[in-house]
Amino acid sequence: MIGPARRALLPAAAAAAAALLPLVARSNYLLHILVMTQIYVVLALSLNLILGYAGLLSLAPPAFFGIGAYTSALLALRLGWPFWPALAAAAAAGLLFAAAVGVPSLRLSRHSFVIVTLSFTLLAQLAATNWTDLTRGPMGLPGIPPPALRVPAIGPVRIAGKAGWYELMLAVVVAALLAFAALVRSRLGRAILAVREDEVLARALGIATDRVKLLAFALSGLLGGVAGSCYAHYISFIDPSLFDFYYMENLLIMVVLGGAGTLWGVVAGAAIFNVVPELLRIHPELRAFLYGIALLAAVSVAPGGLAGWVRARRAARAPRPEPA
């Protein structure tokens, strides 16, 4: 058994090492991939909570991502809101929209829920495209300002360069991971897992399954909103393509192949599936083909994702307990 102090040591060391990474990684290209990975980690946590922990497939993470991005961008552009309040508003928007979609749809069967979440994403894209007074439609929203932060002991800092963004996103990712880890280990987290494992049994044990699912979905929406806000301020331009199914595909690949229902597996999944497509750029024509082959291979070798594969390796090495 590893003590709690030593268990906290490894993630802390990893975070410290990650904070020093820009000293080594000086190319803007590399830093851009890292920042995108960080944004994807937050978005992957959103899908992981609802799919990996609550066991419900939601195709709405891109919707909450887009809603967060538009909320944050519009508040910054039209009302001059600073970054943190805009981020908080984006998180709240994701939470509220998820709750509004969740109340009616979570009463349906799991299959119907998938369809409702898909429809919601499509609807959100339609709104972003056609509500031109608010969103400027396909022309998008350019010029979203970068964050101007007040750092204690340093004073105001304008996050403009990639290295600055990397450090800011590192703080967001660490906060998201800590909150996520605390949530899934909490009593609510236990109830969420119970709902995933056997909903009928959970109800017999006094677990209010409808409420638990709604909370999980709302928090998933919150994480999507946070990721969207960061993306909008980082890229500084957003348009309705944010809601494209392409993002959902990427997310599913990261979460499922990383290991749905685990924390580090999904972080690794987000990192790997941001980097691998870049590495495959060596051959522009074969790129998509090679990526497809790599995905197929990964699914056949490790159906439980990376985390599932590692767990199986460990179990194979550990001495088998005698059945009682």
Binding site: A204, G206, A324
Partner: protein, 262 residues
């Protein structure tokens, strides 16, 4: 309610079912069934396959809304309440198949099974506080006590899905008992269990009852029913055809007809 049903239910009925009627697509599954279980007793519910035993359990525990009739628990009408709300009041059920949360350890299964009855708030549920840690310690204590009593103490850290069928069945029973419920409905507790374990289970259920838990048991193993229960209800095609002590029920012509044909 017929006098035969009320008789022997004791001074105070803990559970009362009145005129329970359920139809599936017009086909009656229960027809005006009334029965009462007295505080502190072990009652049995038997009947051929498809006679409506599990349907009755589903109605009592909030999994099915009856077309007519009512369920009273501790004198209070609980008909149509959600299943989780009924479970929190201390009326628990154990399913026919061994039902556990397979990916969670046996201990986590028991924690999940007991936490909702502790009446904690949402904040305690999300934020680790001194109170939530104290509640978790109470859960662990109760869990170890039950694992010990059922002879599966060694399985605490094992994922429930990898336990043997018998062990899963015992874990399922322990889960229902986590919050010390007042009334437990057991759906075929010894089905698929080996003879040695049946004896252990019988002893455990007797001790549980002696400690004050009221039990209503659906069981096909008539030996076990006759051995454990002082009162037995017999269902046939959705109707209550007999109720009373095991010996008199066994001699009842309608019961014999239901089981062995007319």
């Amino acid at each position: 309610m017929s006098p035969a049903v009320a008789e022997g239910a004791g001074a105070e009925a803990l559970l009362e079912v009145r005129g329970m009627t359920v139809r599936f697509l017009g086909v009656p599954a229960l027809q005006g069934v009334s029965l009462a279980v007295g505080r502190g007793e072990i009652a049995g519910l038997i009947g051929p396959n498809g006679s409506g035993k599990t349907t009755l359990f589903d109605c009592v525990t909030g999994y099915l809304a009856p077309d007519a009739g009512e369920v009273r628990y501790r004198g209070e009408d609980i008909t149509g309440r959600p299943a989780h709300a009924i479970a929190r009041r201390g009326l628990r059920r154990i399913f026919q198949q061994a039902r556990v949360f397979p990916a969670l350890s046996a201990l986590e299964n028991l924690r999940a099974a007991g936490q909702e009855a502790q009446g904690a708030t949402l904040a305690t549920g999300v934020i680790p506080t001194a109170r939530s840690r104290r509640l978790d310690r109470a859960l662990d204590e109760r869990a170890r006590e039950l694992l010990e009593a059922l002879g599966i103490a060694g399985t605490a850290a094992t994922p429930a899905g990898t336990l043997s069928y018998g062990q899963q069945k015992l874990l399922g029973i322990a889960m229902a008992l986590m919050p010390r419920p007042e009334l437990v409905l057991l759906d075929e507790p010894v089905a698929g269990v080996n003879p040695t374990l049946i004896e252990t289970l019988k002893g455990f259920l007797r001790a549980l009852n002696a400690a004050g838990t009221t039990l209503l048991i659906v069981e096909h193993n008539l030996e076990v029913v006759m051995d454990l229960c002082r009162r037995v209800f017999v269902l046939d095609s959705g109707e209550l055809i007999a109720a009373g002590p095991p010996a008199s029920v066994q001699a009842d012509e309608r019961v014999l007809a239901a089981y062995f044909g007319r």
